[in-house]
């Protein structure tokens, strides 16, 4: 059983939280992190619960809200951090940056700057699993906003007709940039759209990592055992702005709404659960927190120490066939 236990889920959630917070600090200090960052803070339970249901050799595609996915899937932090800084030691050698993290060694097929573009790619990975006769599952992360893109529709239909092993996992944080779901989306629950593809559509509290994990596990098992795709919708909230470093206005969400969701911080909830269930006590959690803190600082140190890619890399052929294998 490859499922992660609650302690490990908590650890990955904390890694995401601290990775995002730390990278925002570095960004605000100025200079070191170019371009926008789309933090996953608030989404940690959704992202980790989903990935906890996956095996290491299962696949995952992401989107612009990109840091949480590979971390949850088990990617090493240092190359991720170095990637944000555009360094040679980055997971993509500095070529991808925050929006295009990918770590194929843990099945992370890449985050995408184009909303909705990752869904068909996940379906293709699932097809690959079928053709090659493996039992790998592919999971596509996307937002409520992406559920209005044509690729959402085409992907769900394609996966459904061929009963491909895919989990479509919607991180519904209620907004696409400053646009509320109600303003842009003709259903209250994205999960309701599953009916258009004769697949199960399940909603889950996205702040509760165990609840997410259980729903995701069922979907993954269905997929793995030939039962076809599912649509899972985790209701969540982002604690930061859409993107930091871009000057996006911040007066589109009410203080009460933010307060309501902040009160259900997934990290706080997970910590409480660890304590309540006795899976981990206070000192153990404190040790774990300190460990994550060290990981983050190590990762940042690695990132800072890593060199920039050599300028000659800029002119590297755009073709893989021109490179040595």
């Amino acid at each position: 059983m490859s499922d992660l236990d609650l302690r490990e889920m908590y650890r990955r959630m904390l890694r995401i939280r601290r990775f995002d917070e730390r990278s925002l600090e570095v960004q605000r200090e100025g200079g070191a992190i170019p371009g926008p960052l789309h933090p996953s803070t608030g989404h940690e339970a959704a992202v980790v619960g989903a990935c906890a249901a996956l095996r290491r050799d299962d696949w995952m595609t992401g989107n612009h809200r990109s840091h949480g996915h590979p971390i949850a899937k088990g990617a090493a932090l240092a190359p991720l951090f170095a990637e944000l800084l555009g360094k040679r030691g980055g997971v993509c050698g500095g070529r991808g940056g925050s929006m295009h993290l990918a770590d194929f060694s843990v099945g992370s097929l890449g985050e995408s700057g184009i909303v909705g573009a990752g869904l068909p790619i996940a379906v293709g990975a699932a097809l690959s699993s079928r053709v090659r006769g493996t039992d790998q599952v592919a999971l596509a992360f996307f937002g409520d906003g992406a559920s209005n893109a044509g690729t959402f529709h085409e992907s769900l239909n394609l996966a459904a007709i061929w009963k491909l092993p895919v989990v479509f996992f919607c991180e519904n944080n209620g907004y696409a940039v400053t646009t509320s779901q109600a303003a842009a989306t003709s259903v209250t629950d994205i999960a309701a759209r599953a009916a258009g593809y004769s697949m199960p559509g399940v909603m889950v509290d996205g702040q509760d990592v165990v609840a997410v994990y259980e729903v995701a596990r069922e979907a993954v098992e269905r997929a793995r055992s030939g039962g076809g795709p599912s649509l899972v919708e985790a209701k969540t909230y982002r604690f930061c702005e859409h993107a930091e470093g871009q000057g996006i206005p911040s007066h589109y969400r009410s203080a009460e709404e933010i307060e309501h969701w902040r009160a259900r911080d997934p990290l706080t909830l997970a910590r409480a659960l660890l304590l309540r269930t006795g899976i981990a006590g206070g000192p153990e959690i404190a040790a774990l927190d300190a460990e994550v803190e060290r990981e983050i600082e190590d990762a940042l140190r690695f990132a800072r120490a890593s060199e920039f890619p050599d300028v000659s890399e800029a002119l590297r052929s755009p073709f893989a066939s021109d490179a040595p294998r």
Partner: protein
């Protein structure tokens, strides 16, 4: 008409607001403009003029075509030009073809705005400069404003034009300030601007390359080389006469185009000149473009790739046979 200084982005909004105020048929469709519609100058336009869309570019670009065919003059702002691919069929097969294919029963007065976010540390997905491909699509006009005044003037003309017009805004120029005439300051599509007179070499420069070319010309002037800088402003229609006149004088051509080199619009200009202006040409043509590579994220890599004043000056020297 007096001229004050505005930024390029302010000039765009001034044109858009002006025309939306003047002509009730003009509407704006774009993602995430709910806040813009709710307060400030756009709110004064009243109901039903700004449509804050879902992330459905094919859908709302297609809507613009339908609206244009039925009496409106829609503007779509794609915000980032790399998103044009998602709506490509509606741009290329529908907006560009509808009028001609239906025997000119109706016109398609439709404006597509799309800013090019290259050089912004946005990595491969967001950094495209896709205008060359649209110039290969008959029925589309393509504009590339390089100054605040042109950002306003070309947008005014585009909105008033009866054909689909694609305006590729240069994100690197958003903060650029310059004189912008007040009021109706439309600049006709198809007329180039001579940004600098010169007699030794012609530099045709597109978008932010216009500024680079002017800086290159200054550097060249210090060496006694007198460069002429031409900003075509629109690629379709293209003011070929302005370019030919200049080459008749200089005999030498450098083209600075931030697009990838292969099948860039610089290629089209070079081809036109090699066909139509051959007798005047006294040296090989040089293109200064972005190399054919996927744009890397790392600033250590990205910022080395685009044309700049040094590369343009070096190309000018090379066609003049000086070092």
């Amino acid at each position: 008409m007096s001229a004050r200084e505005l930024s390029y982005l302010e000039a765009i909004h001034e044109a858009q607001l002006l025309e939306m105020t003047r002509d009730p048929r003009v509407i704006l469709l774009a993602e995430d403009i709910g806040l813009m519609a709710a307060a400030g100058p756009y709110a004064a336009l009243g109901k039903n003029r700004l449509w804050s869309t879902p992330i459905s570019e094919s859908g709302f670009v297609g809507m613009a075509v339908g609206a244009a065919l039925t009496g409106l003059r829609p503007i779509v702002d794609l915000v980032i030009s790399s998103f044009a691919y998602v709506a490509m069929d509606q741009i290329v097969n529908q907006s560009a073809k509808a009028a001609g294919m239906f025997g000119w029963q109706r016109r398609v007065p439709f404006v597509l705005r799309a800013a090019m976010w290259y050089g912004q540390n946005m990595a491969a997905h967001h950094s495209d400069r896709p205008y060359p491909m649209f110039t290969n699509v008959p029925g589309l006009k393509v504009a590339l404003p390089a100054t605040p005044a042109d950002a306003k003037g070309l947008l005014l003309s585009a909105i008033r034009d009866d054909d689909p017009v694609l305006i590729f805004e240069d994100r690197n120029l958003f903060a650029m300030r310059g004189p912008v005439p007040e009021g109706d300051a439309a600049i006709p599509l198809g007329r180039a601007a001579i940004r600098r007179d010169g007699r030794d070499v012609t530099i045709v420069a597109l978008a932010a390359c216009v500024g680079h070319a002017l800086r290159a010309a200054e550097a060249l002037a210090r060496d006694g080389i007198d460069a002429e800088v031409i900003d075509p402003r629109t690629l379709v229609p293209f003011d070929r006469e302005a370019v030919f006149r200049s080459i008749a004088k200089t005999g030498r051509l450098v083209i600075a185009d931030p697009a990838h080199k292969t099948t860039s619009f610089a290629a089209e200009i070079a081809a036109l000149v090699a066909e139509e202006c051959w007798d005047a040409l006294r040296a090989p043509i040089r293109r200064v473009c972005t190399p054919d590579v996927q744009i890397p994220f790392s600033p250590a890599l990205e910022h080395t790739l685009y044309p700049d004043a040094d590369k343009i000056a070096a190309a000018a020297r090379s066609v003049l046979g000086v070092r």
